[in-house]
Subunit: 353 residues, 2 copies
């Protein structure tokens, strides 16, 4: 039904989807020039979809003409300002695909705190895309949904799949790379299902205050860092190591690259203009602790850090309780969340998409 007109009463134009957030092992940082509004990344990225950190979103399209504008509520609060505009722009994408003018009522809840270091935009735009498309009766396969979700938030493309996921940058093959080709090629795919490896993401929340610069603005700044090209030039080799480490379930191979890429990304962020310094004192408390636990006590745990101050500690399931206990005892840590790998998005009828 892509491009066709959707029909039927309001009650049928409604769907609910639950999607997991994800934690990247190789990071997405920086958009390719010339196609900024498509969120085409500078490099491929690899992530684990999270079972226990998810967003549930209901989209109801109004074909009666009674709703004068889109209404968007997240965790009980009506969205306003630039966050609302970003969601409306995503609803516009779905309206354009279906060829309908309907306004939407969107109600979304996260089972984790916003600004907690868990990417709510990843799970949020994945759930919005799947629920919105389903409610419009759009028949898009998961790869196409991944491309649509990517335009809302880059990392949301990865949350369209469960388990271990790679998002292709979709360019660099030497062929003509017009925007529509880029759009269709820059999609995620599953490397391994959620049953493949019992990894854990133990999330140390050291600050829940809002960032000074959102990560979507930050992506535009990556190219201003003198270190950016050096990082992206290395990512190809790191991706290969991470793919192999996941295939082999080898935390000792995964971990060092996980830390290296996170530190390289923050090196890029800190040296962009303006400089982005996402870390807080608690961030360093956790980083230094993780290094000491590993080097002094032999605990096989490694860190990664998204565009914020909180720290994700990656370990295997049999170390998770010990890591959770240790990290929870650090003075700077306000709260600890733990998640294993989860499935891709589920519609409320229980079907995976």
């Amino acid at each position: 039904m892509i491009g066709g007109r959707a029909t039927g009463p309001l009650s049928e134009r409604k769907a609910t989807c639950r999607a997991g957030s994800n934690i990247a092992f190789i990071k997405y940082w920086g958009v390719a020039g010339g196609a900024e509004d498509l969120n085409i990344p500078l490099n491929n990225s690899i992530s684990m979809t999270l079972a226990d950190a998810h967003t549930t979103t209901t989209v109801a399209w109004d074909d009666s003409g009674c709703l004068p504008e889109d209404s968007i509520a997240i965790d009980g609060e009506q969205l306003v300002g630039s966050s609302a505009e970003r969601t409306v722009a995503h609803l516009d994408r779905l309206r354009a695909l279906a060829g309908v003018p309907y306004k939407a009522s969107v109600v979304s809840t996260n089972n984790f705190p916003m600004a907690s270091g868990i990417a709510s935009s990843a799970s949020g735009f994945a759930a919005l895309t799947v629920a919105g498309a389903a409610a419009l009766g759009l028949r898009l396969d998961v790869t196409r949904l991944s491309a649509v979700a990517r335009q809302g938030s880059g990392s949301a493309s990865r949350s369209l799949f469960g388990g271990f996921v790679e998002w292709e940058r979709g360019w660099g093959g030497g062929e003509s790379e017009g925007n529509s080709l880029l759009d269709s090629r820059s999609v995620a795919h599953q490397l391994h299902s959620e049953d493949h490896w019992a990894l854990r993401d133990v999330i140390a929340i050291v600050s829940t205050s809002a960032k000074r610069v959102s990560s979507s603005s930050g992506h535009r700044l990556a190219a201003t860092s003198p270190l950016n090209a050096a990082r992206t030039a290395c990512v190809g080799a790191w991706l290969e190591t991470v793919r192999q480490a996941i295939a082999d379930r080898d935390i000792g191979k995964l971990g060092p690259i996980l830390e290296l890429d996170a530190l390289a990304m923050h090196g890029v962020m800190m040296t962009s203009t303006p400089s982005l310094l996402y870390w807080q004192p608690g961030t360093l408390e956790v980083l230094q602790a993780v290094r000491a636990w590993r080097e002094d006590d032999g605990v096989p745990v490694y860190f990664t850090i998204d565009a914020g101050p909180n720290v994700h500690l990656i370990c295997e399931a049999d170390s998770a309780a010990e890591v959770e206990r240790r990290v929870g005892a650090l003075p700077a840590v306000e709260r600890v969340l733990v998640s294993g790998p989860g499935t891709g998005p589920e519609l409320s009828d229980g079907h995976l998409i």
Copy 2:
């Protein structure tokens, strides 16, 4: 008297020198391959010699043969282990220049705490070089002394001059670059005297615990970072800006480059193998505070960070009291030291060298 035999009683083979430490605005990080033991740097660096953070060293050479080995005391403690070996190696350089076998008694005191974020190796090896050479009657000009001091500790080469100083890497001109040419070319020179600009270094000490990896070991690791070449490729442009900013006494031009190079250097350190994470929670507390004071309150202060957790806040003299007051009020800051630009080394007879 280079290469000649020194003569005279012990009492005449003794000299005392006081030398200031320095704070680099463009950092020295990483040694050029193939000449590691000469401390030939990857890039030029620029620093300010500190008036109020200095080392006073007395060297007495024993031509009686009574002293069986070198004796080295710093701040009242006899030096042992690798630090002692490093000092003995430097005494060997002076012995070789003079062609004498004399053992030495070295007594050195710092007027600032060791491991305080002030480079005691810079002031220490500068004072040792000047006092040791003077006590042997070696007639070396200050440029040659700069090269000798550099072999003890790279940044010591800059402490041979007062005020604002640049240390040339000494290579890259396309000519033959044998080790002896490198050694004679990689020397410091003064850009401006200490009277040129009333800058202040307000040093926020957040930790006085010893580093896990000394900076002299760290220099060998720079090349393992995927970000290192990108930093050194940019340093040429940054040096030009810093030279101009110092010439113009323009803190608004100096400051952003100061922060950029410090963050780039720490990006290199963090992504080397093994990874060097010198920062502590207090480091981030100060960095975030400086950014907020500048952006929210208009205080013209900028940070730089050496190979350690403490933070150097650079501002003009008329802002220093305000900066000192603010930084002293931060919970993580244990102690604040303040210094302006100082002279080059002074021998105990009061003469500048």
